[in-house]
């Protein structure tokens, strides 16, 4: 989604040429939900962001998440997704601990 130009911002204004706001929904499950202290979150970025960077944001807030990084799989819009997947506005990202259904 493109940001609406701010009032008075002309072509020569010192703003980044491609300014985008990315808003994503983030879901946590299993023990990750307990560590993150929430099941769902909504975050907004002004720069290109990957799933890996998104996870790092939560590690910064909840350092104990770091040790689970290697056993977490991510999904984007209900599909397993690589960690370097770039996020788009409206994406639903989930962090999934090892699955144990059945």
């Amino acid at each position: 989604m493109l940001l609406a130009p701010s009032p008075g911002a002309g072509y020569n204004s010192p703003v980044p040429p491609v300014s985008q706001t990315i808003r994503v929904t983030v879901l946590f499950f299993g023990r990750l939900k307990e560590l993150a202290g929430r099941a769902e979150d909504s975050v907004e970025f002004s720069d290109a962001t990957t799933i890996e960077q998104l996870f790092a944001l939560y590690v910064a807030r909840h350092p104990e998440l770091a040790k689970y990084r290697s056993s977490v799989v991510a999904s984007r819009n209900q599909e397993f997704a690589p960690w370097d997947t770039p996020l788009r506005s409206g994406d639903e990202v989930a962090f999934l601990p090892p699955v144990s259904g059945g």
Binding site: F29, V73, T85, P97, G101, G102
Partner: protein
Amino acid sequence: MATLPHDDIYQLVREPIDMVALVSHVRAPEDGAIVTFDGFVRNQSHNRPTLYLDYEAYESMALAKMREIGAQLHEKYRIHCVAMVHRLGRLEIGETSVFIAVSAPHRAAAFDACRFAIDTLKRTVPIWKKEYFEDGAVWADGELPPAPAATSRAKPAS
């Protein structure tokens, strides 16, 4: 994703699973075999007595993954109909958490498909169980779903 036969059943439920109804649902005159898998809550885990289990799921993705498994079954095996139901929430010892029924004209395909279905479900469907014991609770050790390593050469989702 391949379209599924419309009489297949893929569900997440919070009530006891009606296994008899599911078996009769997949049964048809042109079939000769039904193989079922009934997964239920064991009374111990690593020799610790279990009180009960609590299941949760990423429901939209879990259903999508269950349907994907169904599509694979129909591609790989000569089967007729699939019913695959997983229960969520609190389950007591002996209660069925997952039930799969596969019908086919001949038994070999039904056996193979049912085995593939439960093995793949346990590896790829985002469902988690927490085990409750006398002295606390733990998330069950799970399996890491196979995830694509990097985007650049990743194939589109099938």
